[in-house]
């Protein structure tokens, strides 16, 4: 089950995010309403000289009407709240659609739309899941397979490896280390279990982020799904990818960061 949250903002970008989130919500036929978070600045509310609670209620009513007007959703399909917290558990995917939050918060699972109007605006491209030799990809793969199954999209598993000088084969898969091979096998099993079509791209790119983004562009991927690593302190691939991607990216929070 997927739960989608969008942070309300009455700007052109906010409108685009809202429509992106509503479109995704519709396509995934989510059982829970689209959560529209309205973050309250207490200092600002304090300035409303009279009827502070009425002002807040009036704001919620106006925003509610605005959201319904812009998304075309029914009243029951939208829930206004003042929380933006979301978490990823094994049972459900809770994600926040936002253009800026992913750069500031690595403790939340955020879908960065990369200024696209909707996830499938460019067609039914695959979902790209880059993987390395660690298990941090597993939650990303689970989320990607869930989205792929819900949207009837294929998945591309991407891996780039260093060239092993002791291996003479020119084929990149022959240069993969044992742990990466093992992760790859696990992902294939996981995808098969969920009935998701998968193909793998293994290469020896000069740069990991550039390699995965080039692959996303070649494959016309509609989404990249990556998990933030619980162990990485410097050189986080997710953060680097966020600064360079023209393709929407779902950055999943790491468990360590959420626990902290």
């Amino acid at each position: 089950m997927t739960e989608i949250t969008c942070i309300y903002n009455r700007t052109a970008e906010g409108r685009r995010l809202l429509n992106f989130a509503a479109d995704l919500w519709r396509r995934l036929q989510c059982a829970t309403p689209l959560n529209v978070a309205i973050v309250e600045d207490v200092g600002t509310t304090a300035l409303m000289t009279t009827h502070k609670s009425e002002s807040r209620a009036s704001e919620l009513a106006l925003i509610g009407s605005d959201v319904l007007l812009k998304t075309g959703l029914a009243d029951a399909s939208v829930r206004l709240s003042d929380r933006i917290e979301a978490e990823l558990s094994a049972a459900e995917l809770k994600l926040i659609v936002d253009q800026n939050l992913a750069f500031r918060r690595d403790d939340l699972s955020i879908l960065y739309p990369a200024r696209e109007l909707s996830l499938l605006e460019r067609g039914d491209g695959p979902i790209l899941v880059p993987f390395g030799d660690g298990t941090s990809v597993l939650p990303a793969a689970a989320a990607a397979f869930e989205l792929a199954a819900g949207l009837s999209l294929p998945v591309v598993l991407y891996h780039t490896t260093w060239v092993d000088p002791t291996v003479h084969s020119p084929a990149p898969p022959d240069h993969m280390c044992l742990s990466a091979n093992s992760i790859h096998a696990q992902l294939l099993v996981q995808a098969a279990a969920m009935g998701v079509t998968v193909h793998s791209v293994i290469e020896t790119a000069d740069d990991v982020v550039e390699g995965l983004l080039n692959c996303a562009m070649r494959e016309s991927a509609c989404l990249i799904v990556m998990s933030r690593s619980a162990k990485t302190r410097i050189g986080c691939y997710v953060s680097q990818t966020l600064t360079k991607t023209p393709v929407p990216l779902l950055a999943l929070a790491s468990k360590r960061r959420k626990a902290a």
């Binding site: 309300y8 903002n9 009455r10 700007t11 052109a12 970008e13 906010g14 309205i38 973050v39 309250e40 600045d41 200092g43 600002t44 509310t45 304090a46 300035l47 409303m48 000289t49 002002s55 009036s58 704001e59 009513a61 106006l62 925003i63 009407s65 605005d66 990369a114 200024r115 696209e116 460019r122 067609g123 550039e210 983004l213 080039n214 996303a216 562009m217 070649r218 016309s220 991927a221 509609c222 600064t243 360079k244 991607t245 023209p246 393709v247 929407p248």
Partner: protein, 408 residues
């Protein structure tokens, strides 16, 4: 070590085979034509000698076209091939007119009264030359013509296929010319068969007119293709539409503003201006994506190579100005429910509907005059139905919190 396939698909090998075919055809036709005293066959043999010269010219053109690019010729000398296309296309157009005239004259010869009347109006019409043959020479004529037709069709297909796969327009044009020769020879064969086996000697003339039309069409297409490349005509509206669609399928591309295409040799050149909201950090990937998909399309569309020049532009900013009536108290600020309760006016500059600059002003005495002077198009109040102000549009702000309105 080169494989047989690589030899057989080498353009020079193919063209030398063509020279060989024409040499054999010429030798047979001139030799046997002279021996059986058939000016038709011998004449065709001399025509094949001219074809040898043409094939040698094509070899020279391919050699020049294959020379690498230099500083003076950054795209190489591939366009020389299209001079050949233009020349062969032109010669086919002339040939088609000659052949159509001969066929027309043959048809007229069936009705001498009409022939006489037409010649009175068109005295320049060539005279009709009937088939001169007898039972002894017939088998020679038939076997030479059948062999020649088969050789022409087989070699032309081979030439065109290799020419297309290697991107040599002159070879394709020469192949089309060889095929046209084969068609004319086929009509000769139809004429011989019609006269000696079916007693319908006029059969070759209407067929000849049809073939003349087919040759004219080939000649026109070759000339047009050659002229288009030499005059740097666009590669075609269909291709351009497909290129636009390929670009718009790339994430981050808002629009293809300008698209100029032309062809140099078998290389397609695309000059594009892409509108995108993305900033510098993302443009390298955007460029990679656009180039990858456009290149893929062009190579699948039979171009042998492509040169893509991209320029990225921001969308038109559509600048305008709005304002919010606000209550300010130190660092805190909220949108006022009415003009009366407002202490300040926040004037916002918008580009692409995004607030790019704000300026906080004390509420002026004459608000409308102030807003008009600042060219503000709309004033927002935090009110479900804000009261109207004369001379300025007033709208409802859904929130009183500046951060929800893009003001902080």
């Amino acid at each position: 070590m080169k494989t047989l396939k690589s030899y057989l698909t080498n353009p020079f090998v193919v063209m030398w085979l063509v020279v060989g075919m024409y040499a054999i055809k010429a030798a047979f036709k001139i030799g046997i034509g002279s021996q059986i005293n058939s000016p038709m066959i011998a004449g065709d043999g001399f025509h094949n000698l001219a074809d040898i010269l043409e094939a040698l010219a094509v070899i020279a053109v391919i050699w020049v076209a294959k020379r690498p690019a230099t500083i003076d010729y950054p795209f190489g000398r591939k366009n020389i091939e299209f001079f050949t296309s233009l020349a062969i296309g032109g010669s086919l157009l002339i040939l088609s007119v000659q052949f159509a005239l001969k066929s027309l004259v043959g048809l007229l010869a069936i009705r001498p009264d009409i022939d006489h009347a037409v010649r009175a109006v068109l005295p320049f019409l060539p005279s009709h030359e009937p088939l001169v043959m007898n039972a002894a020479t017939l088998p020679w004529v038939l076997s030479i013509t059948v062999g020649s037709v088969l050789a022409s069709f087989l070699v032309s297909r081979y030439q065109i296929a290799v020419g297309r796969s290697c991107g040599h327009a002159s070879m394709v044009a020469d192949g089309e010319e060889t095929a046209s020769d084969g068609r004319i020879e086929m009509i000769t064969l139809a004429g011989v068969a019609g006269e000696y086996y079916f007693q319908i000697p006029w059969l070759e003339y209407p067929l000849g007119l049809l073939i003349a039309m087919a040759i004219a069409r080939t000649g026109w297409e070759l000339s047009r293709a050659g002229a288009r490349v030499l005059l740097q005509h666009s590669i075609g509206a269909d291709h351009e539409e497909a290129i636009r669609k390929a670009c718009l399928r790339v994430s981050g591309v808002s629009a293809v503003d300008q698209l100029k295409t032309f062809q140099i040799g078998s290389t397609a050149v695309c000059i594009m201006t892409i509108t995108t909201e993305h900033r510098t950090g993302t443009l390298a990937q955007l460029k990679y994506g656009v180039e990858h998909h456009v290149r893929k399309y062009l190579l699948e569309a039979d171009f042998k190579d492509c040169e893509i020049n991209l320029r990225f532009e921001k969308p038109e900013p559509a600048r305008h100005r709005i304002a919010y009536a606000a209550i300010a108290d130190g660092a805190n600020l909220c949108i006022a429910p009415s003009v009366e309760s407002a202490t300040h006016i926040i004037v916002c500059d918008l580009e692409n509907n995004m607030v790019v600059r704000t300026k906080e002003e004390l509420k002026p005495e004459n608000l409308v005059e102030f807003l008009q002077r600042k060219r503000v198009v709309r004033l927002y109040l935090f009110h479900e139905n804000p009261p109207a102000l004369p001379g300025i549009e007033v709208a409802s702000s859904t929130s009183y919190q500046p951060h929800l309105l893009g003001l902080s």
